[in-house]
């Protein structure tokens, strides 16, 4: 586990001052802080375990999307699952593309049928020194600890139960094959997702908030981006949970003032506040349909 990128970050942040330090973590639930030093494979503690004891544990279901389902979406997937959010992740590209020895020789894999583990082994067999130096092996090692292999967004059969993904981290809660929030990591992916949902014709009649958080595709930015996405997820989840508590047993009529404003209504505001905390990641949002 020494190769976990999280561990390298502590050093790399001071070593590469080109990246502005991320804003201070918002006053949020404990998981952010506790997961900071978390390591792959070991269960991250400090946050309460998932149980069905009450409303407090209401969790929105998330989906993270990037181009190849390797770097940014997987970092966010790990982050969110570490905070015990139900989460799935996808890529919108046509193929999984990883850098090769030269620009013209990328390593290309098919979505859905290639596991992170097999990619890891193949690259390790090809040139361990190169792929360790450019961070690919570290990344794949992280990914193979999160789920089996990269999945393509366009091939996702939304609403089909995902019972065969129980080994994936963050799989608890997304057995139904649907999510409440989709977070893409690049405008191109956002467009692909919105367009794909339009093409599907919204057969499930289920609303889904689609966000875009622009993250550059490198290891360092992915780490910062994962943190930002977790912050967004926390803000959204807090609002959604509040809605359920306030309008729960006491009923709609007894809610007052701000508490009456519904979760969905607050989304633009939440994103606006988030954007002020993370100005370096231009965000987008829309309400689409599954």
């Amino acid at each position: 586990m020494s190769s976990d990128p999280r561990l390298t970050r502590a050093g790399s942040r001071t070593a590469t001052p080109t990246h502005p330090p991320p804003p201070p973590p918002p006053v949020g639930p404990a998981p952010i802080v506790s997961s900071d030093g978390g390591v792959d494979g070991t269960r991250i503690d400090g946050s309460q375990p998932v149980d069905a004891s009450g409303q407090d544990n209401f969790k929105l279901k998330f989906c993270t999307v990037c181009a190849s389902n390797q770097n940014r979406s997987m970092e966010a997937h790990l982050r969110l699952s570490a905070a015990h959010y139900p989460v799935v992740s996808f890529g919108t590209g046509s193929l999984v593309r990883l850098p090769g020895p030269t620009i013209t020789q990328p390593n290309v894999y098919a979505f859905n049928t290639t596991s992170y583990d097999s990619m890891y082994k193949e690259l390790e067999g090809k040139d361990p020194r190169l792929y360790r130096a450019n961070g690919l092996l570290n990344m794949l090692e992280r990914n193979r600890g999160v789920k089996w292999g990269p999945e393509r967004w366009q091939d996702w059969r939304i609403g089909v139960p995902r019972l065969n993904h129980q080994q994936d981290r963050g799989s608890i809660g997304v057995e139904g094959g649907v999510v409440d929030i989709v977070i893409t990591c690049e405008e191109r992916c956002f467009d692909a997702v919105v367009d794909d949902l339009l093409n599907r014709g919204s057969p499930l009649n289920r609303p889904v908030h689609v966000f875009n958080v622009d993250i550059r595709d490198n290891h360092e930015e992915a780490l910062v981006g994962g943190k930002a996405i977790l912050d967004l997820a926390d803000s959204l989840n807090r609002a959604a949970a509040e809605e359920r508590i306030i309008h729960g047993d006491s009923g709609w009529e007894e809610g007052n003032g701000a508490s009456r404003t519904n979760f969905d209504e607050r989304v633009p505001e939440i994103l606006g506040d988030w954007q002020e905390r993370w100005p370096q990641m231009p965000a987008l949002w829309t309400l689409a349909w599954f």
């Binding site: 069905a52 890529g91 590209g93 620009i103 339009l198 954007q275």
Partner: protein
Amino acid sequence: MSQPLASVADQLAQLDAARKLVLGDSAFYSQIVQGILPIVGAHARVELRRWGADFLAETFASPGLSLEQKQQLCLLVLQTIKEILELPSEDASVIKSMVQASASIYPLVFRHIIANPDDAPTWEKMAAIKSNILRRWDTAPAGVRVCCIKFVQRVVQVQTPGAPADPRRAEQSETSLTLVPRNHPLIPTTNLEAETFGLLDRMLNVFHENPLDAILVNATLNCLGGLIRSRPSISNKIISTILNFNPLKQASMPLTSKVKVIVKSMERTTRALLLNINKRNPNGPLAGKIHQYMERMAQSRLEFFDDANRKRGPPIEPTDGLDQAKRLRLGAGVPDTPTPTITVPPLPPGPASYAQLFTLTRDEAFRSFDVSQLPIDLVIKIALPVLYRLDQKVLDPAINGLRARYDTYVKQQQRAAPRAAPVDEDDEAYEPDFEPTEDPEQIMNKLDNDVEEPEDTYAPPDVALGQFELPPPPPMSQDETANIGRGTVARVFSMMNMLDESGSAVSKKTKTGINRLAASSYDREAWLTVIIRLATRASTGLDDYDPEANIKTEDGPSTSMTKSTDISLSDSIRDALYLYFIEDFRRRMDIAIAWLNEEWYNERVQKENGNDPQPTYEKWALKIIDGILPYLDAKDKMLIRLLSEMPAVSEAVLERVKKLAGDPERVSLAVNSLHYLILLRPPVRDICIDALEDLWRNYEDARSSAAKLLARWRPQVLQQQQQQQQQQDQVGAVTSASNSATPVPVPVSAPAPAPAPTPAPSSS
């Protein structure tokens, strides 16, 4: 309290287990759904109702469950859904899921009703659910309203004719109005159609009513895609509505981060939907309009967000999954970008050709390529853009290199030819000499001859030619100049006449606003500007000399000479302009106004420069007014336009306007023009009111209308008149003849603001 809570937790755990079961195998659905209905019904605790609502929504949305199974199940759950929806103050999340479930169920029930026309109770339940949801549509919290929108979208989709159903695959074809028989007892198609239109209108209303409610707008936009695609009968209507919607309209609001998110999101969603439509149907009837709309939107988006500074530059790192093929070279790229240094290799010793002298490339293939084989227009096509884009930093060293190369070559030649006379640098003309003066040009010639034409066909001339200079043309006489000047002016006018027809449409297209450069577009307006400036400014250059000439020789013959030329130059243009304008003054009013503005401006500039120009503006303004006055009819707007847009209105001009009132038909035109000026041209208000007063006093026909205006603008005049009359009535001795004559002697020409007090005593 803890006891029931625990049991709720237990029940939820059991329910979750049941859900796991059906997720694993959809065959259990009918069993489980029937089993849970009593547990999660309207009388259960809210936690259970929430679970049940979510489960029902999931069940009827699930792609794992076949259409037949769903159709059977939907009949079972209708009652429960209805009851829960009708609960007072129901939890929002339960409603949300129930509306979702209803949206999925509606097509199923509809299909069932088509097949079973007698099942009125089921249809009634569905209708009750529908009206319940429609009631919530406007008042519920946003999350629920969004789901209501989706429900309505489903209803509209079901209740409009779909694509013609394939009879062989009736089971597979989608539920739509097409499947309903005309004479169905429960769902008569005409009623459905009417209802659908109403719902669709209400749905599209969101773009007008809640343009800032991003969540509703986005939800609507994102579910309209399916309707547009599958329901051609209403797609045009939907698209036109969207095209009339402008998500950036809210620019006046303070741009908080929330508003930014909202506006950006609506703009983006609209764009995504339109892009999707055009991608699917690039030849649709509205494709062109959609394209225009998106271009317009892109433009206003830039203006709205002033994005340029916030936009991310090109990605510093690869963007596609660490794809190295797309990686921008960072470190390696740096030495690439500076301009390539040009090295100029020295010429080989010995005679060289032009070609050799100017060749910089070392590429053999390029060297041997003979450019002269290319057609000249192709060469131009290549050379011009290349020259245009050529970096100065590249060009300069190359030229310098060539210069150095040339200098060294010349020196070599001189050394090789010791007889050479020193180069006379000043004399560039061709001076034949029997001794070759090694003039640069001659060297070049020689080089050429030596190499390119090795066979000695060209012998240096034996006879010396005298130096030849083209004699300057004989000076033109005044008349000739004037004639040619007039010819030029006539030519420009004929050009404008041509452009009048063809160019007016073109010129309208390119309205570049205030930043345009006058006379740069070569259309009619540009030529007009040229001609007007020629008339107004060209002669002022002469004027600069004129006054001195005038002073020197007062009344001398030379003065009249200069004056006459001056007049013949600029005034002939003015005459031509005037005629051109009068030819069609209604359409060419803008010309007159532009011209007058230029005249006026020029006069001012001259004054500022200390010159005392001839009063051309006044002269031509009067001439123009005189020119059009005879043609104006009673309701003509031309005069008002001219008066309002000409740069200065003088009393003489108003005098002309007043004369209009002499014609009983055009009294109102005169009065209205004055009224307009009074209202909208404050600087000339006083003299206009004076003119009005004059009208009132001296023009019988204009009296009543002028009095009305005077009552507002200069009431004291009227009052005085009244007083006077009263006095006269009191005196009673004055005859009616003298009474009517009283207003006449009032001095009108005096521009004093209050001329009223004086005349009263004088008349009495």
